[in-house]
Symmetry: C2
């Protein structure tokens, strides 16, 4: 056998393990220090009662021969695809249910979708970036170009017509920067993609944090996206499904190239290499879209959004430049006094017992920046905000 | 963008849709005909009570902040990996828990594992074959060699030293033929793989149907397999998880090539392109290995095994040559009177209102063969056996 030697080109990431070691070492040398973690990228509130009820009901069905469900459609049950269809319909986005594929999460599909593309495509990703975009393409041996996201462009790079890319990753609201594209920004990307026969892989995993009605929550709010974009979304942050695993991917029927339909290719890929999401989980996901479900998840989202506001107000008061904090669970701040992001990490831990994520872990442009998240405990987040004010004020 | 044009080389399979159309047409022209389906490849009995209880309990944990589970380890929770470790230990197979990866099913991992191998590898598959082995490799552009499985070798081909293969698929008990390799057969393959620096992808999804203690249930019962084999297994047929989705993959630490560890590569692949199996599902899967769980799944397996025995005895009485039926949920019979498999399909449907699967759908060597399965209803299976005797006796 010959192995895929591209694996040797994937950089080992020690970001979160380095953080864990540093925090553990600090805890050992400072027993009882009241450490607060603001670096967490996972939800902390439990599943909504409607989701639990729907899953329990589905389990009852699975316990009886008459209502037992074996293999389901690889692309997902119609009841869930229709619920998602209606969710988009409320925002006047008219999808065909055959364009909706239920997945076990955005991360899986963002990687697996690459099966559809030739290895000789050029991939364009922003820097800083969610490492999965880079690693999945490196693994397959694709050429990757980086575009600078920085203070000058508000961490929202726009297309450079001199660069020829085939596959473009956009994430809005962005992880790690929290920055959100407006309609004009996304329209520029859609136009670029259509002109250059490129495809946009649009990661919308944080769309539920958008409160400003003028900001697009889906790439399909933008005219022309149906011929150049695939959207990935998830119940993870919307409804606390990080450990329950469900998402969806939209591959428009109008997305064609070389006489091939990407929708049909993806259907073939999924029916061949995937066997669907558990019935019980799909039932829980569908319950999110009931009137009661929407009220319940809004409560959890409001909790996280309030945490984001507390942190954003603190940075405002301190006069610290940042992106995110509004319409996003992430805050991406410029380290004070031109500090390096790892130096700032050590400084915060030492002086205020606060843990965040050094921006350098997401790419070279993250070097003097720092990520905080809104997924923590409410009281702890307020306490952290007070410590930040005291330390940096 | 340039698409992966290998997709154009995947043959469209209309096997099961053709069957469905034929059966529907027959039903319309013969209203009320008492059709019995013996072609089903899905389980029909509900989840075991211990599995339901464990999943209900896990849902309770997910409903409370203190016990809520977010992202879990991509490779699976230790409690489930340890349960699988012990399951192998009972058969004196000593694995390291780091060699066990929890998956959402054997089908996904059988396809995804190919990320680890270079495209220029030569793949060896038996004919007839489970189509996923062929389609996933065709999609990636690999050269595929077929080895004849036929009446002469009992549908259990052995290595041909004149053929140089890199990646070898073996499925035992086999789908579709029900044939099971003995230790000598698997030892021949392990020796061939080690001598030729090839890897065996061993699909053990039906191991729980093996009753004969002399037959190997895992490739790792064979000396030397640790340096040349990866095993895929599943809760689907063992515990009725076809719609609940859980399986496991074993990548030995000793499996190395070109200085690279396949175990480490797979870990990197899974942490990058997968986000783990739902916590609730993993809790249900772990319950299968409790003493009570083992008793409960044995009951369901006994039900299917009895169906297989009823069909096998019928074929024995009729003097029809077949593989499987023992140690397997599948029966692979030679069509009487040298009939073509589709002709026999029409004949059975017309004369006895029985539906099975024409062997030709699994490859050229299936042409005069026919697959029956043991996953149907007990009474219906007995009735079907009676009809077979009447028609062919």
């Amino acid at each position: 056998m010959n192995l895929n030697t591209n694996f040797q080109n994937i950089a080992d990431s020690y970001l979160f393990s380095t953080i864990a070691h540093k925090v553990a070492a600090f805890g050992e040398s400072h027993p009882g220090a009241p450490i607060i973690r603001l670096g967490i990228g996972d939800v902390t509130l439990p599943l909504a009662p409607v989701v639990i009820e729907a899953m329990q009901q589905a389990l009852c069905e699975m316990s009886v021969q008459k209502s037992f469900k074996g293999y389901g459609p690889e692309q997902g049950y119609l009841f869930l695809k229709e619920a998602i269809h209606n969710y988009y319909g409320e925002r006047k986005i008219c999808l065909n249910v055959d364009e909706i594929f239920i997945s076990d999460g955005a991360k899986s599909d963002l990687g697996n979708i690459l099966d559809l593309f030739s290895v000789d495509n050029t991939v364009l990703v922003p820097d800083p970036v969610y490492p999965v975009y880079v690693d999945t393409n490196t693994m397959a041996g694709r050429k990757i170009l980086f575009m600078d996201a920085n203070e000058d462009n508000g961490f929202l790079p726009l297309p450079d017509p001199s660069i020829k890319a085939d596959v473009i990753y956009l994430c809005s609201p962005n992880n790690p920067t929290g920055a959100v594209y407006d309609r004009a920004g996304l329209k520029a990307w859609v136009d670029y993609a259509n002109e250059n026969h490129a495809v946009i892989l649009f990661d919308a995993a944080y769309e539920c944090f958008i409160e400003d009605e003028n900001l697009p929550r889906s790439i399909f709010e933008i005219e022309g996206a149906q011929t150049c974009a695939i959207e990935f979304c998830s119940f993870s942050k919307m409804a606390g499904f990080t450990g329950t695993r469900c998402g969806w991917t939209i591959v428009p029927l109008a997305l064609q190239s070389e006489g091939m339909s990407l929708n049909k290719m993806w259907l073939r890929r999924q029916t061949t290499k995937f066997n669907g999401v558990p019935y019980v989980v799909q039932k829980g996901a569908a319950a999110v879209f009931s009137a009661q479900g929407q009220r319940q998840i809004e409560e959890s989202l409001a909790y996280y959004k309030e945490n984001a506001q507390v942190l954003a107000r603190t940075l405002d008061e301190l006069g610290i430049w940042y992106t995110g904090g509004k319409n996003s669970p992430y805050l991406w701040l410029k380290c004070p006094n031109d500090m390096d992001s790892w130096d700032f990490f050590d400084y915060l831990l030492e002086k205020a017992n606060l843990v965040g994520t050094p921006g350098a872990g997401f790419g070279k442009n993250g070097n003097k920046f720092f990520r905080l998240t809104a997924f923590g405990d409410k009281a702890a987040t307020r306490e952290a905000a007070g410590r930040l004010k005291k330390l940096l004020g």
